[in-house]
Amino acid sequence: MLPQYFRIFRWHVLRDLAQHRLLSSLNICTVALGVALYLAIQIANHSANRAFAATVDLVAGKAQLEVDSPAGTLPDSLLPQITAQPGVAAATPIVTGFVSLPKYPGEYLDLLGIDIFTNEPFRTFQLTDFDAAETFDLQKWLRAPRTIALSEDFARDHHLRAGDQLAIQLNGRTQKLTIGFVMRTHGEIANADPHIAAMDIGWAQELLGRSGTLDSVSLRLTKGANSKMVAAELRKIIPPDATIAPPARRSEEVDKMLAGFQLNLTAMSLVSLLVGMFLIYNTTEASVVRRRIEIGILRSLGATRREIRALFLGQAATLGLIGVGLGMIGGYFLAQALVGTVTDTISSLYILLSVRQIAVAPWIWISAFGLGAASVLLAAWLPAEQAATSDPVQALHHGERLERSVHLSRGWFLGGLTALLVSVFLSLLALNHAPPWISFGAAFFVLAGFSLLTPETISRFSRGLRWRTAERRLAAQNLARALLRNSITIAALAAAVAMSVGVAVMIFSFRQTVTDWINQTLVADLFIGPAANEVAGPTSFMPPEAIRFLENNPAVEAVDTFRHFEVPFRSTTIELAVVRGSNRRNLHFLHGRSDQIMPRFYREPCVLISETFSRRHDLKQGDKLALPTPRGTVDFPIAAVYYDYTSDQGTVLLSEKNFLHWWHDDRINSVGVFLKKGASVKAVTEEFRRRFSNRGEFSIYSNRSLRARIFEVFDQTFAVTYVLRTIAVIVAVAGIFLGLTTLVAERTRELGVLRSIGASAGQIRRLLLWESGMIGLLASLLGMASGLCLAVVLTGVINRAYFGWTIQLAFPWLSLAWTPLWIIAAAIFAGWIPAWRAGRLNIAEAVRSE
């Protein structure tokens, strides 16, 4: 059978594909796009995770255990004790700090203070003189203040040489570092963020104002030492707000933190592939219908059902494989473009990160290939099966080609309703402690439900309309005649529209919610913080004299302070926000009134937790939160839960009074300034700038400019989402074109008959354009309906399950109103070429068989 199969395959499939080049290429393109998007998102996600892991490896080195102080308060006097602990073979201290680089806006350096003597067994990079890979001037390293080793990549990218000065901003001051050495990395570590520099730990402590404290101590254990037991012993000598764990835990923690965000991207990228499946189905189905006679002949000549099935699956597979192949290549390149956007978003939402090179694991290639191939075969299976089981006698009978599909089974409608019910059920599950990924099931069943309802809708539309002109009436009837295939076309487009609408509504609602929230909470007139914080997060501190200046300024009514702080909590690290507030700071609470809760918050030992924190850690108002402080672990009552949209990881709010009492740390990251009535924002800003920020050492925002900045970050966050949704819509419009082209091809005979009984070429064209328009209309109506349901799932279920915040549903009515218009326009546009072709039909040829 095999050689014969290939011959038939060549004649019947390859030749056919070659004849329908446009169709074939469309199919290939949609599969390619779907696969490319999936692959690109996977690569971008994977690269981000790998870059972070490599950076952890670079910093922690070959450590087996790590004593880590998230707040950077580990006393360095503990080092000899840690080193002398039984089971510890080597220990090396690390102090780190982030600085921003005014000459390179948006860039930063992660400064590592290392001890060259104890660090050697841990080092994963080569430390050498800048110009010579073989030498290292130890005396210069130890003696020269502010002399750093720069990562090779960073130096190369910025054309920096030995002896060059690099201006940095730190704690509201500009300082100069000298480049004296270079850090060379190899292998896996080369994936690490190149924004890294090392210097002697002593000078790093001086520079960062961190004398006496460390961020971490890396440990290597003696042979045969039990890591858990060593950790338990060390636990007894390190302060409660320090942790001890293998360094890999930090990458795991970040992987976990990013998992929700990344899964959402993956899910969105799969929508294109889903739409692509509709198209493959459509094409295969069309070619089955078109070649019923061929199938009949083949079958009567002795071809088996399996061979027929294989023939059509082979056809889909041929297109699919080319598509998958192109998609994999395209995805790889798309990833290069996408990885920057994805990491920018990760940096602004979660953790400072920069990806130097994209990383692709074998499983990414394999999964992209597998998903692409599986979706193609799955989509082609039904039509291929239909071809295989068709009766050769009936197939060879020329009449009644399309009639069979007119009958509408009740099953579609019931199936659709069931799917929607399943969606509701899954939503409830996801909101009640089931794994969050179930919420994607809810979204999927919304799309599936509306897809299954499509045939019923078309059929009602077709029967329900009584048009006066022949073209329109025929067009409406035709929709119902090729019901299944039209349903698929419409469902595909509707799914894309639904996704577009759903995402648009979700983002709009989110934006609206954030706007409301900002209006309540962002009430100060001026916001001032060290410029480095804008790049590196809250790592720099306000000089006390700058705060004093503001407090004593006659135009200033009050100064609110903010301090960011991290402490270990359960098996992870959580963020504390320490505030000294005026009464004007408004929080919106889930339960309780601000004027009762806030005075208690400032007066008593208690904390407030954000809604996301409450969900993530399953803690409620009235529960106790055990926080490790330098004075031991303290149980803080949770006074209330407040709405917050700053971090999906959640925040704990602590008053400055409490913080000072337990932590003895009065450093402040930024301030909010309230001005007296009638005072000029501009005057205070200028005075401050003149005194403290003449070289841009501070970022100063007015209320309005801070809002603008917040929305800038917000929009950047959803940039990738917009890209994905746009591509899905493009794929769907391609689908309309495909659907109509096949429709025209298979209705050649029927159109010929219409022409021969007197229809003009213009009428035929109008007929087809009306059909396209109706497809567009139905798809946009279904898409809108399904999109609104999807929006509910996205905002109320997926966002809540993954990120834990409450988003008030809001609708961008105007842009929603536009949706059907441009979808119908796109549909008519897509129908143009097939319609024009149909008008030029050769009547004699078309009706030859009559």
């Binding site: 360095d76 006097s77 001890d115 003597f117 130890l138 130890l142 003696r143 002593g202 402590q205 006496g212």
Partner: protein, 358 residues
């Protein structure tokens, strides 16, 4: 004449470090302690020991002080990790009987007081390695490492002898390339050694060098050969040859002969002749060391031949590599047969001398 001198060869020296100038007035025991205004300083102990069974051992224990911040830059910083000087030490044991040579290094900032100089009777220490001096003028050495341990009591037999002229030992022709350098050329030594599991009560004789300087080597010097010999007639000899990169010997090379009655005879390069007799190629570094020598010092009617107790007495640290080992000697003094023991140091053979680096 020690390894650390190499470190200085290429340093750009701040004027704020004190240099070795003629006219230094030596004062003991004050000068046994540290001289922190000089950039480099070391306390160098080598010795030849035997146990009751007659097994032959050699040891080296040296403490180095390498200045990082000159006096005018000190203070004004708060971090404990910023240090004024770097502490490091080398420790070796040569076990001639079992043909074993063990060598160890410790380097430390001394941020936590785990290393330093001049604390009570401790002259220098790093972790458990230390050099102590008692009120009676005797020294105590202790060091331990994996498979090796040393615990020795040293009592000077001779008074300190000052090398060079007018209190400075010149290392090159130009001014400033010099050190302050004295030796106690014979110390009666007793104590215990642990080598590869074996513990030995030992006795014998040691040699103590103490040298401090700033910028003592000149460019173009490739390394040196240094010899300390203790003869069984109660006399000693110290010689060094500065080897130049062009293959020649620097005329500034010199030495000192110390007679049994403590009278010392300064020697210039014209007064002695060193001829290599035996070479050993290190399998680890491929360096070819001249480990056996014929030495003639006509000025004091001395001629003898050096035979190392082990061929492999090479210290391989990164990137400092040198050969420092115990030897036996036979020869003649004024026509009479003479025996003795000593230590030989050979530097600059494995690689061009580089600054003190890691």
């Amino acid at each position: 004449m020690k390894i650390l001198a190499a470190a200085l060869a290429m340093l750009c020296i701040a004027a704020t470090w004190q240099t070795a100038e003629p006219g230094w007035k030596y004062d003991f025991p004050r000068d046994h302690h540290g001289h922190e205004n000089f950039k480099t300083e070391w306390w160098y102990f080598t010795g030849n020991l035997t146990n009751a069974a007659g097994h032959r051992f050699g040891y080296e224990l040296t403490f180095f002080r390498q200045g990082i911040r000159p006096p005018n830059e000190r203070g004004s910083t708060r971090s404990r990790f910023i240090v004024d000087d770097l502490k490091f030490a080398h420790f070796t044991i040569s076990d001639a009987h079992r043909r074993k040579f063990l060598f160890f290094q410790k380097v430390s900032r001394g941020s936590f007081g785990e290393a330093g100089f001049d604390r009570g009777d401790e002259i220098a220490w790093i972790d458990s390695w230390n050099l102590r001096m008692s009120g009676d003028g005797s020294f105590h050495l202790a060091a331990d490492a994996e498979g090796a341990k040393l615990n020795l009591q040293l009592v000077p037999v001779k008074a300190p002898v000052i090398h060079g002229k007018n209190g400075v030992s010149q290392k090159a022709a130009s001014a400033g390339h010099a050190s302050h350098y004295y030796s106690i050329s014979r110390l009666r030594t007793e104590g215990e050694l642990v080598v590869s599991g074996g513990r030995f009560d030992v006795h014998g004789e040691s040699w103590f060098d103490h040298e401090w300087a700033t910028n003592q080597l000149a460019p173009g010097q490739a390394g040196w050969n240094w010899v300390s010999a203790q003869f069984d007639d109660g006399s000693e000899l110290m010689l060094y040859e500065m080897r130049l990169t062009n293959g020649g010997i620097d005329p500034a090379s010199s030495g000192t002969f110390i007679a049994a009655d403590d009278r010392s005879v300064p020697l210039t390069s014209a007064d002695f002749q060193m001829t290599p007799l035996e070479f050993w190629k290190s399998p680890a570094t491929q360096a070819n060391y001249p480990i056996g020598w014929r030495i003639e010092v006509p000025k004091v009617q001395l001629a003898f031949t050096i035979h190392p107790v082990l061929k492999n007495q090479e210290l391989v640290f990164t990137p400092l590599i040198y050969w420092e080992g115990a030897f036996d000697l036979v020869g003649t003094r004024a026509g009479k047969a003479i025996g003795g023991r000593g230590y030989l140091e050979l530097t600059g053979y494995a690689a061009p001398l580089v600054e003190l680096n890691r």
